[in-house]
Symmetry: C2
Subunit: 539 residues, 2 copies
């Protein structure tokens, strides 16, 4: 008790000076006195109201200094911008506390998409330089607008069933395809179908088919996955046509860049693209098209940093085939050493093989090619899918795609922190694929509080008609992070995306500079706009 009393007096002394300083001291000198030692073995019920207030303030500050962004010092202009951002955030937050039905992150994105787009906070975040988007899938990155434009190209055939009512497959070809994979399926030129169903009608229909809409509520996440795999399947014939592949990627780069993303890592299954005569090209051609398109894009957009490729074939295969993939990845990396930089396996984990099945094959990948494994994208706890998290870490992954279940595995969470493995948190994807319904229950809140390395990513934004990355930032900032998470949180998250990218050290430094330039401009614009607004008000 005497020990505690002296602690108490010490704390009281600190509190008089400035509690945040005290908390910072504790934070930076954890070896000197732990949070728990501070409490000692006393009976808290003997506290005076003053004791209580001091302890409370100290723990509060301690918590404030433990989360993501605590290491960031804002510049003067950033502080001014922060005030405006927090004013908009608090407006939405407090409206939500008054009437939770008005809080966007409490709803399914499909129900609030338009509303969110009008939010002043979203408008600010949309323009924010976000650094890198580290998780995007090859054929779900672009908006449906881009995909629908592709359906206007020459030589496109469409296979329909139900007398033209249901579109089953697309194919580019000189002549009408002869093979039909669907019962009662019929091929016809796309122009003909458009004429038949009416342009506007068909556009609306395709917009629906190219996204998860309108199904905000699936019975289970398995059901949502099946639906999503159906979209991927429908797009295959459209996007795997060699002349289209590069254009789709170009448009993705364009859309991400317009959304404040300067660097993009794409996970691709690397399909063998086809030509008008139906012949398939080798995989290296797919990579070559990526590479050429990227060079063109970079030349035309000097503010853009770069893009890299993670070879990510489907996981629902036998170990021998994974062995083949590993060989392919090694070859491709030899040919495109600065572009094909990583390996992953994709597809619904719940129904796939666990990573451990493939361990012997995976360990054959040369260690300069990194693993970026999807893992723990599930809500089962203790199933083999859950084990993927452990396997990803023990296999030496550099990042983890989703890791949704990691908060149920504190040991692994500590390992991720220690080994500096970043989690790619994809809020909107998790909701659409039915892992959670309310953003306020997203487990990443714990990652933020524990300061576990994390980045905000999207995955397949085109399928949910969301912005490439802005909706994920909005939901994370307003719905997942604590109310007091501010510009420090946003800055740390943006910087993390470059820090945890596969860029090499020197390139990383350059990337950080390119990002910083845009960041400072963005901050300046907010401050300038604010001045303008308050001057207008005065008049």
């Amino acid at each position: 008790m005497t020990v505690l009393l002296s602690h108490r007096m010490l704390l009281a002394g600190w509190a008089r000076r400035a509690t945040p300083t005290a908390a910072q001291w504790i934070h930076h000198n954890p070896e000197k006195m732990t949070l728990l030692e501070m409490l000692g073995t006393t009976n808290l019920r003997k506290s005076t109201p003053k004791d209580y207030r001091i302890l409370r303030e100290i723990f509060n500050s301690f918590e404030r200094y433990s989360g993501v962004g605590n290491d960031i010092q804002l510049t003067l202009p950033e502080r001014a911008a922060n005030e405006l951002i927090m004013c908009e955030k608090k407006r939405e937050y407090e409206k939500g506390i008054m009437d939770p039905s008005k809080f966007a992150p409490g709803h399914h994105i499909f129900q609030v998409l338009t509303k969110v787009k009008k939010s002043p906070l979203f408008q600010i975040l949309r323009r924010m330089p976000k650094g890198a988007a580290l998780k995007a899938h090859d054929t779900s990155m672009c908006s449906s607008r881009v995909v629908i434009e592709i359906t206007y190209r020459d030589n496109l055939w469409v296979c329909t069933t139900q007398n033209g009512c249901r579109v089953e497959e697309f194919r580019f070809a000189k002549d009408k395809p002869k093979d039909v994979s669907f019962e009662n399926g019929e091929w016809q030129p796309m122009e003909k179908l458009r004429e038949l169903r009416g342009e506007e009608n068909l556009r609306k229909y395709l917009q629906m088919r190219f996204s998860m809409y309108p199904l905000a509520s699936f019975t289970t996440n398995a059901h949502a996955w099946r639906h999503m795999m159906g979209i991927f399947g429908l797009l295959d014939g459209l996007l795997q046509y060699a002349p289209v592949w590069g254009d789709y990627y170009y448009n993705a780069l364009k859309e991400f860049y317009a959304d404040g993303v300067q660097y993009l890592e794409v996970r691709s299954v690397l399909p063998q693209l086809y030509s008008l005569d139906g012949s398939r090209m080798p995989k290296r051609e797919t990579v070559q098209i990526y590479k050429d398109t990227l060079e063109r894009f970079k030349k035309e957009h000097p503010g853009f940093i770069d893009s890299k490729l993670i070879y990510a074939p489907i996981r629902h295969v036998q170990p021998e085939l994974v062995g083949e993939y590993i060989k392919e990845c090694t070859e491709l990396n030899k040919e495109f050493p600065s572009f094909v930089v990583g390996f992953d396996l994709v597809g619904q984990e719940d129904v796939g093989h666990p990573l451990s099945n493939f361990a012997a094959e995976l360990l054959k990948l040369p260690d300069h090619i990194h693993f970026y494994f999807h893992a723990g994208q599930t809500n089962w706890y203790g199933s083999h899918v859950d084990q993927n998290l452990l396997d990803a870490i023990v296999l030496g992954t550099k990042r983890i795609g989703h890791g949704y279940t990691i908060t149920k595995h504190p040991v692994l969470m500590r390992l991720a922190k220690y080994l500096n493995i970043a989690l790619e948190v994809c809020p909107v994807s998790n909701q659409v694929l039915q892992l959670g319904s309310d953003y306020r229950s997203h487990p990443a809140a714990t990652l933020i509080a524990e300061n576990v390395p994390m980045v905000i990513a999207s995955g397949s934004p085109g399928f949910w008609r969301a912005a490439p990355l802005s909706h994920d930032f909005y939901m994370a900032f307003l719905g997942i992070a604590p109310m007091n998470a501010d510009l420090k949180f946003l800055k740390r998250t943006a910087k993390n995306s470059i820090k945890y990218s596969s860029l090499k050290d020197e390139a990383k430094a350059e990337a950080m500079e390119k990002w910083k330039k845009q960041w400072d401009k963005w901050v300046e614009n907010i401050v300038r706009q604010r001045k303008k607004d308050s001057e207008t008000e005065k008049k």
Copy 2:
């Protein structure tokens, strides 16, 4: 690297002997080598498949030995019972992985209540001696069957609107009440209404009005709360009638005891009960009725341990009134020292005052009367409600009601563990009050993994037509805990409920014995039933 290599060799040596032993050694000697030191600073990508398997097994075991129940050693009969229990658990779990729509904890309880009752696993859990139920509210503990029976008593009047279609209020009185609180409200004898609407019809209607059914989906948790407060209000006139109050409590004890609960802590707002002439009695009478009823019940049920009272008035008041409550609690404890043992504040936190507002008053409570605060029953992160968690802890609470948001506050989670504060986890309540939809996303999974003190509790089971405690155990065991959580988890959870009760040391030891007797009988019954079943199969 050399350091790591020697670690590696050490680990390999362990693994050859028996990995669980190695993990146990690490677990019990954390000061000798930490989880993280084991990894060293090596490149995991240089692992051989054998290295990988060893590390994987060690971390796996480490995790297994960290969760709730890891300290329990099962006896031989318990091991036999465990096999049967895990067989039933796995059956449900694996069916769920095959088709998630068949997994009960993935649904709203209202949709699977009947299905769950038929589950063999539920049947086992229903009979399990659960120890104590540490969270139950005074007028929502009993099934609606009990409440409906009360409506058959003499002298009951009912106030209806919409021409008898909507029941608004009940009152026991000799003559027709004169005051009407509802527009167009009319009082009539209950018999008359029953005759008018038909007995069966009215029974069904009341069953609906006395529960949260059929609304499995409210727009927000504020909406769910308003609905629930409406039920409490409707029940007031029925249950606050002095002769009814004791009977309701008696029935609650009976129903909880039949559900495997031997000890009950009730949170009561302690209303002033009324007599047939409308006069109100002092609060001490309410407690006296509780006390007398309890004595009667204990005499008639020697296997029952005890019941205690936590005075828990509504939190939506000014600090001065809380000061009054504290005085009342002190007085009542003086008169009923072994029965009125604690203090709490109830009602929706989101719309109430934060605990900190009342701190000065609360700290006046003599410290032998414990705090059992509700706190963090919210999904807002960083709001004042969230702060209640911190305040509850710093004010010296013995347990925390819900603490749903604690995993977003690792600092507080560590404090709860250090100070041995148990969280009262109420899975079904959290779902019905819209904090989460799928049990697999319940934050208590993290508490289980981190071995933070916790008990499983219910709250207002009558309002969701659930068993007093069995549905919460079922959802926690199957839906929240990891697949491999077994009888050790159940035993630790049952024992915790007595450990974290307000019983004094000696009484606690006696309680543990009384529970143990029933526990051993239950285990024996499972094993006997199993033998019988396998003999029948052989024939």
